[in-house]
């Protein structure tokens, strides 16, 4: 009798309610379920990866000209962190401005092309042409035209962003729910109202999905453009250190790029979680 009572008591004290409180708070902080294993597991994976790398370099005494140890890379990075940060800032600015410009132009193009089959048939082939031409081939040309400054890098980052954003915005503007569309029509809503109330919000999931790829593509675009001719930026550093075989410094610049990519995509994901609260893709609580 008393043992069953104990069991009951245990069950009550272990009810999900007691645990739910901290969970919800963490979920709000991190924009996800707030399950610690979500953060611990990737962290462990990184520790194992870089630990193995470090051990391999030390045990086999690998030539630093082939592969520097992570500890050496970090030492170089933090001994002159301001220097790397400054160049990272240059590349980041080029990438983010390029991404914004590319997105903006793509949205305008998307509005025009989703409203007119004529414009789509005329303009889309040009957009396709720009997207299939390798960026590496266009970069030197833009350097000749616009010099060593930020402009050609911004253009390259914008071109690389433009096409995926365009295609996704057209799809997003068009793939509206027919019932919702007819409902607005029955109220005699004009085209602008239909766009603002229905097409634009409808396109957000598509635009965020494209943004997640494009934001890292824009960094690639900026770096590739820096290789073609520049005096600043992480791409410029990597090329320079590669010429002088300064492996640790080169890895330090690469590490900065990797971190930049992670920060940018995480930022986009974070904004997406906030903006698409209504969308099934962010529906974690109700499964």
């Amino acid at each position: 009798m008393s043992s069953t009572e104990n069991a009951m008591e245990n069950r009550v004290s272990a009810s999900p309610r007691g645990k739910a409180v901290p969970r919800v708070k963490l979920g709000k902080l991190f924009g996800s379920e707030g399950n610690w294993s979500h953060y611990i597991q990737p962290a462990l994976a990184f520790i194992v990866l870089f630990g193995t790398w470090e051990l391999v370099v030390r045990i086999f005494n690998v030539n630093p000209l082939t592969l520097p140890a992570p500890s050496g890379v970090l030492k170089v990075l933090f001994s002159d962190f301001g220097f790397y940060l400054e160049h990272a800032g240059v590349t980041l600015k080029e990438a983010v401005i390029g991404f914004s410009v590319g997105t903006f132009v793509a949205l305008i193009g998307g509005v025009l092309m989703s409203h007119s089959r004529f414009l789509e048939r005329t303009l889309l082939p040009i957009a396709v042409l720009a997207s299939v031409t390798p960026i590496v081939a266009i970069a030197p040309l833009l350097i000749i035209w616009f010099g060593f400054g930020a402009l050609p890098k911004i253009i390259i980052a914008a071109i690389i962003t433009f096409f995926p954003m365009l295609v996704n915005s057209i799809t997003g503007f068009r793939s509206i729910d027919q019932n919702n569309y007819e409902y607005l029509r029955s109220l005699h809503a004009n085209k602008l109202e239909i766009f603002l109330k229905l097409r634009l919000p409808n396109s957000l999931p598509y635009l965020f999905s494209a943004s997640k790829t494009c934001i890292s593509l824009s960094v690639i675009g900026a770096v590739v453009a820096e290789w073609s001719g520049s005096d600043k930026g992480l791409g410029n550093l990597i090329q320079m250190f590669s010429n002088y075989m300064q492996m640790e410094k080169m890895f330090a610049a690469i590490l900065m790029l990797a971190v930049m990519g992670i920060v940018l995509t995480t930022l986009v994901r974070f904004i997406e979680q906030r903006a698409l609260y209504w969308h099934s893709s962010t529906n974690k609580r109700n499964g």
């Binding site: 919702n180 809503a189 919000p201």
Partner: protein
């Protein structure tokens, strides 16, 4: 007073080289404040007729007047509360924000202001959705979503409600419950309703007048006045008068089918 007049309209759809005659010489008159159902087999053009009245499609021939003006003019004056088959709720808006939608667009046509949201809340409460004002559509069941769609039409200030098989996507039990709720709201507000349905029992239960249609080409075979007492509740469905109407309309539809 006759509010909607449909005078000998015809409509053909051309798809590739195939021409379908959706409506031929269809005419009806709808009194203000009455509940009128359009019933008939699929393909009889009942939805098309509804859409033409609402200005969502145009007739090839004939004349339609809604309160003395054309459907498009009535539409721009926000005379229609439309309830399509699937609930046209915008997923990024909460229930109450969806209720506000008809006031936000086409402002020049709207005489009403969103102060009416008290009425909106009252209507939502009356169909058991009082606690879901700030819920998103994905958090509601299909039946709850369609109830929001119906209540939104009542709260939009539109004098005419056009319902295009609003219950067709719902299961039988939900369907019946919403039918009772609809009749209750309607008997309170007395708007002019044009209601498209497949269900004979539904049509008899809800309507003042039933327009029975036949297909290929879509035509009116008979207009039945339903002379059953109001207010109506589920007990009505047990009465013999109700059954007689159901049998009569079933007979009309079968007659056409057997020809």
């Amino acid at each position: 007073m006759t509010y909607i007049t449909v005078n000998r309209i015809s409509k053909k759809f051309k798809r590739r080289d195939q021409i379908t005659e959706a409506l031929r010489d269809v005419g009806i008159e709808i009194e203000q404040g009455t509940f009128v159902s359009l019933i008939g087999p699929s393909g009889c053009g009942k939805s098309t007729l509804l859409r033409i009245i609402g200005g969502l499609e145009t007739a090839d021939d004939g004349d339609i007047r809604v309160g003395g003006v054309t459907p498009i003019e009535a539409q721009s004056d926000k005379q229609f509360g439309f309830v399509p088959q699937a609930p046209a709720l915008f997923p990024w808006r909460t229930v109450i924000e969806n209720m506000r939608l008809p006031f936000e667009v086409n402002r020049k046509g709207g005489r009403q202001t969103p102060e009416q949201s008290e009425e909106a809340k009252e209507l939502l409460r009356s169909v058991g959705l009082g606690e879901f004002l700030d819920a998103y559509p994905k958090e509601l069941s299909g039946g709850m979503q369609q109830r929001v769609g119906i209540v939104r039409a009542f709260a939009s200030g539109a004098p005419i409600l056009l319902m295009d098989e609003p219950f067709s996507a719902l299961d039988e039990i939900t369907r019946e419950m919403i039918r009772y709720q609809l009749v209750e709201i309607w008997e309170k507000h007395k708007k002019t309703v044009v209601f498209v349905t497949h269900s004979i029992r539904e049509a008899v239960f809800l309507s003042d007048k039933i327009v029975v249609m036949s297909n290929r080409p879509g035509r009116i075979s008979e207009i039945v006045d339903v002379d059953l007492p109001r207010p109506r509740s589920h007990e009505l469905e047990e009465t013999s008068e109700y059954q007689r109407y159901v049998h009569h309309i079933k007979g009309l539809l079968r007659e056409r089918w057997e020809q």
